[in-house]
């Protein structure tokens, strides 16, 4: 399903999804070529959640994200050059090299803190909601986190306060397949979470909660824009669980790219290694989206190709920029401890 948006906006969403995909495929390549070290997490497979969801937000809204933040930042308009520079620990990184992949944040885009502590941002995002309400604005706060974060007690504590105090916060839980994988949504038990469907947890705290297919950009756009509207009108917190199927390239701690994503795969998966073929055919949100764009005659396959090429160019520029950026001076390590 396509979001109910004008063609230009749909193309913009398409560009963002490609940007995330190619940015991260490139990133994995660089890591596996040992051009940088360190642990990182990729957003591949969740593009149709973050991109349409974040497109529903206003300029002044706050976003808090986690270890799996690259997609959220790019969806919000972050410069891939500065994001990559940060991941490489370079001077031109958004955080001057101090944050790295786990912590990249961009306050000018509304990201106050990106935390690598599972569950760490849930109270923080709830607090930003408290602030914007106290300031009598109509801004909202959005908390983007994984299904695992619900296992942390901090989630439950935050839901309680958000509900008691009717705070303007959207909890967007991205359930990337650890739970309920391959089963009908919300029916399967997880080995680490007894609450199922997951929405039962916020619902217990009287927070309206719903599930959505996170590979379906139109469905995501629909529920998120609706939720954002309610929150902005003073309706208090909302919870959305977006379900995606984990990308097979990212199931271990050290991702590998089974095949570089190409629009052509949307119509013919035979080039994909057999083990991963099912995912690219049924669950790849980028391919699903462009297939629909073409089916619904919003764009032609040629246009898709052009977009793809354009984004590949943007990504290679980002790689060049980031590697050209020098490491920060050692003494800068002593700065920014106190304001």
């Amino acid at each position: 399903m396509l979001p109910k948006l004008p063609r230009e906006s749909l193309i913009e969403l398409c560009r963002k999804m490609f940007l995330i995909r190619y940015f991260e495929e490139a990133l994995i390549g660089l890591h596996n070529e040992e051009r940088f070290k360190g642990h990182y997490h990729v957003y591949i497979g969740q593009e149709a959640t973050g991109v349409p969801a974040i497109s529903c937000l206003g300029v002044g809204d706050y976003l808090f994200t986690t270890h799996r933040n690259h997609g959220h930042l790019l969806a919000r308009g972050a410069d891939p050059r500065r994001l990559l520079a940060e991941i490489l620990g370079r001077r031109d990184g958004y955080n001057k090299g101090k944050g790295g992949s786990f912590h990249t944040n961009v306050t000018s885009l509304g990201f106050p803190q990106t935390s690598g502590v599972v569950g760490g941002i849930i109270p923080l995002a709830t607090g930003a909601a408290y602030a914007v309400r106290a300031q009598k604005t109509d801004r909202i706060s959005v908390c983007l986190f994984g299904d695992g974060a619900l296992e942390e007690g901090a989630a439950a504590e935050s839901f309680n306060m958000a509900s008691l105090w009717k705070l303007p916060v959207l909890y967007l839980c991205e359930n990337n397949g650890k739970y309920g994988q391959g089963k009908a949504a919300g029916t399967a038990r997880s080995s680490t979470m007894a609450v199922y469907p997951l929405t039962d947890l916020p619902a217990g705290y009287k927070i309206p909660a719903q599930q959505v297919d996170g590979t379906n950009a139109g469905a995501v756009h629909g529920v998120v824009s609706e939720a954002v509207k309610k929150i902005r009108q003073g309706g208090g917190p909302q919870f959305i669980e977006a379900q995606t199927v984990r990308w097979p390239g990212g199931v271990t701690n050290w991702p590998v790219v089974p095949i570089a994503t190409d629009a052509a795969i949307a119509w013919d998966v035979t080039s994909v290694p057999e083990a991963e073929r099912e995912w690219y055919r049924d669950s790849d949100p980028v391919l699903i989206f462009i297939r629909e764009l073409v089916e619904k005659k919003q764009v032609s396959r040629e246009e898709i190709s052009e977009i793809q090429q354009g984004i590949l160019g943007v990504v290679s520029q980002a790689v060049e920029f980031a590697f050209d950026s020098p490491y920060p001076n050692s003494e800068t390590a002593l700065e920014d401890v106190f304001a």
Binding site: K98, A128, A131, E157
Partner: protein
């Protein structure tokens, strides 16, 4: 100068802060622990119903919430009541607030104040008697304030709220009934300025929080024995006014450090290590630490007294560095 009782000075400061800056929100049920005066807090709640909120028993949640609110422009003060409950919020304080500015490369400020009551309070036992300042000092990115007088508590609270950094404000119940001079004028006492609470030429006693008052008492007593004790109160550990401490050390060349943390890796350990290094050529005697002994805090009064940095242990230490 007029005199106020400590709890009055504290509440006056709080009122002045609330009146001056509408970004200040309080997450608190009282601010005065179990003291008899906690009812006074209800008047503040009445005057600022939209800016004082009593949170659920969810320390990690409401501390994190306050940090997030600070990031979005408020100036929250969070009352954790007994300092031991700070542990419940440890991940938010030491791993979110303390790191926010740094890991964002200077982008994100978290100007939140965490208020708590530390130390041996008489019968607090093992789970309600902690002094977490040493653990927190091991965590860069937090300012740490320890008032010890009516004037200081009011003046330092103002600076804490105006600070752009996360600030730990550690108070002590046993100070609440203390009377002392407090200026009428609005006074913010800057961080990083140690205060020589009593001048003396024989021994430097560095003390924090309630221990300052205890050491002043001991100093009076020792004066009768002809020993002139200089009592220096750092007032803030972060930032630390090491210069003032060293000036006293260079004068007396003998040092006793008194604080209520457990001994190992406590505040006294850090001060002793720094002074030991900087003052190596000056010191005439080993630095003595008088701290809470390294055992959990017992309930029974005589046991608690035995492990505490008591007057007699302080006096003995002073005599020891002079012998």
């Amino acid at each position: 100068m007029r005199e106020l009782v400590y709890y009055e000075a504290k509440l006056e400061g709080l009122r002045e802060i609330l009146a001056a800056d509408e970004r200040v929100h309080l997450f608190a049920e009282s601010f005065l622990g179990l003291s008899e005066h906690r009812g006074l807090f209800r008047e503040i709640v009445k005057d600022y119903p939209d800016r004082v909120i009593a949170p659920p028993i969810s320390e990690i949640g409401f501390c994190g919430l306050a940090i997030g609110a600070a990031m979005a422009g408020l100036r929250p003060i969070v009352d954790l009541s007994t300092a031991s409950f700070t542990f419940e919020a440890w991940p938010q304080i030491v791993n979110e607030a303390a790191n926010a500015l740094y890991m964002s490369g200077g982008q994100t400020r978290a100007p939140v104040v965490f208020h708590m009551l530390h130390g041996l309070r008489g019968g607090g036992a093992a789970q309600h008697s902690h002094s977490p300042q040493a653990m927190l000092w091991n965590c860069p990115g937090l300012e740490i304030v320890l008032p010890s007088s009516p004037r200081d508590v009011r003046g330092l609270l103002k600076t804490a709220v105006n600070s752009n950094n996360p600030t730990i404000f550690i108070d002590h119940t046993l100070l609440f009934e203390l009377r002392g001079p407090v200026p009428e004028a609005d006074e913010a006492i800057p961080f990083g300025q140690a205060d020589v609470k009593r001048a003396g030429g024989d021994v430097t006693v560095i003390a924090t929080s309630y221990m300052v008052q205890r050491c002043l008492t001991v100093a009076d007593r020792l004066a009768n024995e002809g020993i002139q004790v200089e009592v220096v109160d750092p007032r803030t550990l972060v930032p630390l006014d090491f210069q003032t401490l060293m000036a006293s050390v260079e004068k007396t060349r003998r040092v006793v450090i008194v604080d209520e943390c457990h001994q190992s890796c406590g505040v006294a350990a850090e001060l002793a290590a720094r002074i030991g290094e900087a003052g190596f050529d000056k010191l005439q005697a080993p630095i003595r630490r008088v701290t809470t002994l390294d055992v959990p805090v017992p309930y029974s009064a005589p046991l608690e007294e035995f492990i505490s940095p008591s007057e007699s242990r302080v006096a003995d230490a002073v005599r020891a560095v002079l012998s």
